[in-house]
Amino acid sequence: MKPRQKRMAIIGGGLAALAVVAALVLNAFEDNLLFFFSPTQVYAKEAPLDRPFRIGGLVEAGSVKREADGLTVAFKVTDTAKVVPVTYKGILPDLFQEGKGVVARGRLGPDGIFRADQVLARHDENYMPPEAAYALDQAKKSQGSVVAPAGGYGK
């Protein structure tokens, strides 16, 4: 083997070994790398109950209720399979909307209500002009579908 090929092999082997190490480490940290838990995971008791965690999903349509003080909000987070009720006191981000993505940080109470101290809007990957979104909406209504699939593409 020429020295040049040897160096090439060392780099190739080194990168392969590095990739394996990284894969193992990331796999071991899997749960800690999750930014949020879905309602299904919460029901499956995968989320920690003894410390704050984040819950993520869609804001269930028609579930947002504001208290008289104007700051306290109650809504439900859904992943279209399970639903977790959330209460939050504070200012919501602009993109917080029913049917859109949300990530809330807080604790799950023994009563099953998630008390959030931070609510973030989670944007989806779809970009289109308002007219297109309106047309899509109309088409959806005429088909009678109620819930858009999570992460679906609006074409």
């Binding site: 780099i11 989670r122 970009y127």
Partner: protein, 265 residues
């Protein structure tokens, strides 16, 4: 083997080649930036959810892509430098690093300013954001490592090892939004499909081309400076400077930097 291919691996001949290429790439960068900004800021409509704040994508996405891609190119040059022992490779890695760092910083910075109104926060420690921050630190770390080693050939080798080790981060950044739950949204553009309106996508892709052209032009310009600086004691640089009317540097301090500048290729 492949003698012709290696002709431009010599800093002396690459210096001239780079000089001839710079105006073309710089011109293309200006033209594509103007077109991209016109499409993105004038022609493209507002977004149905975000209004006008989505227009961040015309800088944020090309910058993020460029930050990641520049690192891959650096790793490629670093590997070539280790394998073929060419001086130019280390110089190219050195020339690309500041631009890659700049684009990564722009991606982080614009993302933070977009995140505040859109998500409700400047920063979260989700997988996408954290791995991109690590990319930025890799660039900074590479530049710091270089700066701490006086002998440029040793700095090349140490930098190559750091660059190659860090390349494992690139697929992690790219796939982080698929592998884990992140606050950052998934990819809007993937090979063969996109979930963006055509005009918006066009503007973003033109801006991505502009980022490429800029990166190529600026790193060629930078590598020319690096070549002149590191080859200053060689005969051809002396002749070049003399022909351009400068006082020749060559000869005045020959040998002060050590003799390792000659020899390899």
């Amino acid at each position: 083997m492949a003698i012709h291919w290696f002709k431009y691996a010599s800093p002396a001949s690459f210096y001239g080649l780079a000089g001839r290429m710079i105006p073309w790439f710089a011109g293309a960068a200006v033209v594509t930036t103007l077109i991209g900004l016109y499409v993105g800021l004038v022609l493209a409509p507002t977004d149905f959810q975000q209004g006008d704040s989505y227009r961040i994508i015309y800088i944020h996405v090309p910058a993020a892509w460029m930050g990641m891609f520049t690192y891959l190119v650096m790793a490629g040059w670093a590997a070539a430098g280790v394998v073929f022992n060419t001086r130019l490779s280390g110089m190219m890695v050195q020339a690309l690093a500041p631009t890659g760092a700049m684009f990564t910083f722009v991606a982080l910075w614009t993302g933070a300013f977009w995140g505040r109104p859109t998500w409700g926060t400047y920063w979260v420690w989700d997988a996408r954001l954290t791995s991109t921050l690590i990319l930025f630190f890799l660039y900074i770390g590479y530049m710091a490592l270089r700066a701490s080693i006086d002998d440029p050939r040793r700095a090349d080798r140490a930098g190559a090892v750091l660059t190659l080790v860090g390349v494992v981060n690139i697929p992690i950044i790219y796939f982080s939004v698929q592998w884990w739950n992140t606050l950052h949204q998934g990819a809007s553009v993937r090979p063969g499909s996109s979930s963006m309106a055509t005009v918006m996508l066009t503007g973003m892709l033109v801006m991505a081309v502009a980022a490429w052209m800029y990166t190529i032009a600026i790193s060629l310009a930078r590598v020319r400076s690096i070549i002149i600086e590191r080859e200053q004691h060689s005969a051809w640089v002396g002749e070049l400077l003399a022909s351009e009317g400068h006082d020749a540097v060559a000869g005045t301090s020959r040998g002060a930097m050590g003799s390792n500048q000659q020899g390899t290729r």
